[in-house]
């Protein structure tokens, strides 16, 4: 019984809302890419510096004109927005879905069905 109480308490703690940290680059787009081009300035066309998947995640320091500023090995660079996948914060949770689960009998499944 004591263990059950501990387990329920632990589950309640884990179910509490979480905070997502500042925006980060967490992947490349499309996901089969293995290197990320880094530019000295936003909008530059040529680059000779590339990061790899092993260098992710990278914190986004600034966003401007379709580019994100990041720090790579001590120096600031810019990456093109469409080439990276960004983590985006959310305050959502499964509180209401746990108490009142719904069936999908009368609508097209929506954009967030996989979540809860």
């Amino acid at each position: 019984m004591k263990n059950q109480v501990i387990a329920i308490g632990l589950l309640a703690v884990l179910a509490s809302p979480w905070a997502v940290a500042q925006s980060q680059i967490v992947g490349l787009m499309p996901s089969n890419q293995t290197t990320l081009d880094l530019y000295d300035n936003a909008g530059d066309s040529g680059t000779d510096t590339r990061a790899t998947l092993a260098d992710l995640p990278m914190n986004v320091l600034e966003t401007k004109a379709g580019h994100h500023r990041v720090n790579y090995k001590g120096k600031d660079y810019w990456v093109r927005g469409p080439q990276v996948r960004i983590s985006r914060a959310s305050s959502a949770g499964c509180t209401t879905a746990r108490i009142a689960p719904t069936t999908q009998t009368s609508s097209t499944p929506g954009a967030g069905k996989n979540g809860c």
Binding site: G66, S107, A111, N114
Partner: protein
């Protein structure tokens, strides 16, 4: 987009093989309705690279529209219902009008409604309505992202994907006919064993599931392309629009998966700890085969490991199945698909500044801002009702303009239930009474408050009052199919199971989609027990077939 060749979102041979298998299974069943078999699925699954999002939209398909108001009423009966947010809805409907106009169908029915849901959730119905959760509206960073979501949902309506619903409804009627076969078989000596009717039903259900799953996944990818096209036409950004919308969804799903994994690990640890604390088991009389004898002999700790392993296996299988059979392709695959389109058609991803001001202004409007704040407080309380400040927080959540909304009232209700007795404040005799504030506000009404209140009254042996609550609720929700199963069950428990069966028949006639749930709700405890026993025997029979 409806006429073009669609790319299979699953991308691989296994998914295609599964589709062929499904169709093969369906074709093997003579009673399968043509409506599913003839859906445009298999012929359009060959990969042909990303389609041109800058091309004209396909012409809209003529259809008969279901009743918009009844559709809204039905959504009020689901979950925690809808959020009455007139100012926010005015803004959302303005965006939907622009989307409809850009698609060339400005007079189509339907509007945007706000779901009282903590999740990132959104869906469209065949009536033309779009439902978006409040959390999503609170989290979005720009109007670009919001319009991308609304356009995605509108795509389901425009491309007439709800025809799948009627096909499945036809198929379910066939299931009902087959159910009669099951009923007849139950009267024979084969009743408790796996029989031919079960095999037929299982084959049919699996086949239908696979076809509808693959069709739904195809829908989602087509809806993303439609959204990409419309948002571009409306002048919104790719980067801050559909890409941001899918990135937010992917982040949330990742976090949910991590949380589930943590919960599972905590559960496994608890199972192991419990087994370690238990005295070692002795080999019992039931250990009649080498496997059971081995497990019994290995003691409680080992049994704990076996239980933990079984739990882990079940978790992994469930997650694995969801990934393969979920109606949505993985969000990462959807992101890949739009990235490939953007690479092939760079004009679609041209740099555009995010439009943040209009969305911020809509959220900062006084009523909407108060409403967003109060719901955030309410979600926090429902998540942790025994926190020391839960009751105070819940009281703030039921301040104007949400004093009669279901979610804040529910937060106050659960916090009151959990609060320790205060010295000078007497605890309400029945905290569920506070939910009645929702009954009198038509714009805020949600079926869940009637369910909870009547259920508590029934448990407290105040059956006549409980019946009045349900009657009062049904006076408003009588045309909502989602309200029917609970009503059937409630009347079974309070007026007898003949009354429940009579109501279940009426439910099946008026709401065919809810028929199975109503029939299940009309089963008396004895019938439920009998069904459980029969199901158990069937499972054992199936195991024997596989393992002997």
């Amino acid at each position: 987009m409806g006429a073009e060749r669609r790319r299979l979102p699953g991308g691989g041979a296994p998914a295609l093989a599964a589709a062929f298998l499904a169709v093969g299974l369906l074709a093997g069943c003579e009673t399968i309705p043509q409506s599913i078999a003839s859906l445009p699925v298999i012929s359009q699954m060959r990969s042909s690279g990303p389609s041109n999002p800058l091309a004209d939209l396909p012409p809209p398909v003529a259809r008969t529209w279901p009743d918009v108001r009844q559709d809204v009423l039905n959504q009020r009966a689901r979950g925690f219902g809808l959020v009455n947010a007139p100012e926010l809805q005015r803004y959302l409907n303005g965006l939907l009008t622009r989307i409809k106009t850009a698609a060339g169908v400005p007079s189509w029915p339907g509007g945007v409604h706000v779901l009282a849901s903590h999740a990132l959730d959104a869906y469209a119905t065949g009536a033309g309505n779009i439902y978006v959760s409040l959390s999503w509206l609170a989290d979005m960073e720009s109007e670009d992202e919001l319009v991308a979501l609304l356009s995605h949902e509108f795509a389901h309506i425009y491309l007439h994907y709800h025809q799948l619903e009627s096909a499945v409804a036809d198929a379910d009627n066939v299931t009902s006919v087959l159910g009669l076969g099951v009923a007849l078989t139950l009267k024979t000596g084969e009743a408790a064993r796996w029989n031919k009717v079960d095999t037929l039903l299982t084959t049919y259900t699996l086949g239908r599931g696979l076809v509808t799953t693959i069709y739904s996944q195809t829908e989602e990818s087509a809806a993303d392309r439609f959204s990409l096209s419309l948002t571009h036409k409306l002048g919104y950004s790719y980067e801050h629009g559909i890409k941001a919308f899918l990135e937010r969804l992917a982040t949330w799903e990742d976090e949910q998966e991590k949380r589930e994994k943590q919960q599972q690990e905590a559960l496994l640890a608890a199972i192991r700890a419990q087994a370690a604390a238990a005295p070692a088991a002795r080999p019992g009389a039931a250990a009649n085969n080498p496997l059971n004898q081995g497990i019994a002999a290995s003691g409680a700790a080992a049994q704990g490991e076996v239980a933990a392993a079984a739990s882990q296996l079940s978790f992994e299988l469930t997650k694995g199945f969801e990934k393969v059979a979920g109606s949505h392709p993985s969000t990462l695959k959807r992101l890949d698909a739009i990235a490939e389109t953007a690479a092939a058609f760079p004009a679609i991803a041209v740099e555009r500044e995010a439009k943040k001001k209009p969305l911020d202004a809509a959220r900062q409007e006084r009523n909407t801002a108060n409403l967003l704040r109060n719901y955030a407080l309410a979600f926090k309380v429902i998540d942790a009702p025994n926190a020391t400040d839960a009751l105070d927080t819940a009281r703030k959540a039921v301040a104007a303009p949400t004093a009669s909304h279901a979610v804040p009232l529910f937060a106050l209700y659960v916090a009151t239930n959990e609060a320790p007795p205060a010295p000078r404040t007497p605890r309400p005799a029945d905290p569920s009474q506070m939910l009645e504030a929702n009954f009198n506000a038509e714009a805020d009404r949600a079926w869940i408050t009637y369910k909870e209140r009547s259920s508590k009254l029934k448990d407290n042996r105040q059956v006549p009052v409980a019946q009045r609550v349900v009657d009062q609720g049904l006076a408003y929700f009588s045309r909502a199919e989602e309200a029917q199963p609970y009503a059937v069950r409630f009347y079974g428990e309070t007026k007898g199971w003949d009354e429940a069966k009579r109501r279940a028949q009426a439910c099946a006639k008026d709401f065919p989609r809810a028929a199975a749930r109503c029939n299940q709700a009309a089963m008396s405890p004895a019938e439920q027990k009998q069904q459980d026993r029969t199901d158990k025997s069937k499972k054992e029979g199936l195991m024997e077939r596989f393992f002997k």
